[in-house]
Symmetry: C2
Subunit: 212 residues, 2 copies
DNA sequence: CGGGTAGCCTACTTGCCGGTAACTTACGAT
DNA sequence: ATCGTAAGTTACCGGCAAGTAGGCTACCCG
């Protein structure tokens, strides 16, 4: 068998990130023990602590890395083209990530450890929705729609793609990526193109609203 | 002060379900201890075990009850009316549930305990998507679309509504239910009415049907 | 009043897991 | 070769939470 190999710091760190990702993906945060991570890496517990300080440190490092990867893909995808092309690009990028990085996708999709709640929105997907929401907000204002409903669409689209991604991955990807993307894009795009006008469009007369 | 009141079995059981739901909703499964549940109910640990056997038993009972409640609302909502009305009804029913049963909604939205995976799809929402998918499947076949893509739409719609619900609840429901529902329905309905035809359609069915 | 039973409690055991202290070993540079 | 350092180890602590054994008490019913 492979000799008990000594790795350099960065190498070991990278390996632990890899192993941790796989474990967190399959078992979830709570059900994964540091000992397990260490064992799977052929190393002992304190090594993990040496690199990441605490369990949450390891988890945070993994999530951050995956988040960066996903955001990178999405950013590239919406860098240019018509609005429709960018939308389609975003969907394809998201599904590609789900396909090519199943473990990372699983980690991002699962619940976070309870303590790391920031600002009340705990799940990572919510973060993504927030970013999309910011983009939409500007876009909506520009187009004369009520920007307050932008988050509704942002969350709707993110949730749509996410859930489809989860199903698609869990089901062993029964359809091709292009196939799935096509339908999702169609569903989302049509809705966006037919935004209903509403009483509360920002016209000259802001109407008195009832309860929130 | 309230006397150390002795409750009957069913009463205590109901109370524990209530307390447990609240706790699981706010802390999540792992972070909630049976002792906490017992304390909050003004009772000691073994009582909980007497009623539910194990922690998972309590959790399962709570989830099942909430799931039933949600399904009940949805079923009522889609019992009659045009397709569009039923769709709208389903969305409204879902959001109403999120609004009126925030704790239950939180429980259903969170991750389940790792061990209770059934059929590979662990999350409760996936169950819902499955049911919707079955309905769509039949509907798609009838309308001449490829039924294999039905789950895509089912998951997309369920994910859409779910994520919007999560956001809406987490944000303290900044918009009215009707307002949110209107936009979500618009987004979903438009997409459904313009299903893209595709190479793999079964049968000579060229064009999307019209209906009022 | 006197039992029986249903509801409830105290007081454990057990095992796991996050985290740490203190020691050991490989290895390259001088 | 040897010394310094980075890499890795064993062996422990402390705490918490799941689950249980066995005893107590209120209340109903005759």
């Amino acid at each position: 068998m492979t000799k008990k190999q000594r790795l350099t710091g960065p190498q070991r760190r990278a390996q632990l990130l890899e192993v941790g990702r796989e474990l967190f993906a399959s078992r979830g945060y709570e059900a994964t023990s540091i000992e397990e991570v260490a064992a799977q890496a052929g190393v002992s517990k304190p090594i993990v602590y040496e690199h990441f300080g605490a369990k949450e440190g390891l988890y945070a490092a993994i999530v951050e890395r995956e988040m960066d990867g996903l955001v990178q893909r999405m950013s590239d995808a919406i860098a240019q083209g018509s609005a429709r092309e960018r939308f389609e690009g975003a969907v394809v990028a998201f599904l590609s990530y789900a396909k090519e990085e199943p473990a990372g996708f699983a980690v991002l999709t699962r619940d976070s450890p309870t303590s790391s709640a920031r600002r009340g929105l705990t799940r990572v997907i919510d973060d993504l929705a927030q970013r999309v929401g910011d983009i939409f907000q500007a876009e909506f204002s520009r187009a004369g729609f009520n920007p307050k409903v932008a988050p509704v669409y942002a969350n709707a689209l993110v949730g749509m793609v996410t859930q489809v991604g989860v199903w698609w991955a869990a089901e062993g990807r029964p359809l091709s990526l292009e196939h799935v993307a096509k339908h999702v894009v169609a569903l989302g795009w049509m809705g966006l193109r037919h935004l209903p006008s509403e009483p509360a469009v920002q016209g000259p007369r802001p109407k008195g609203r009832h309860k929130g």
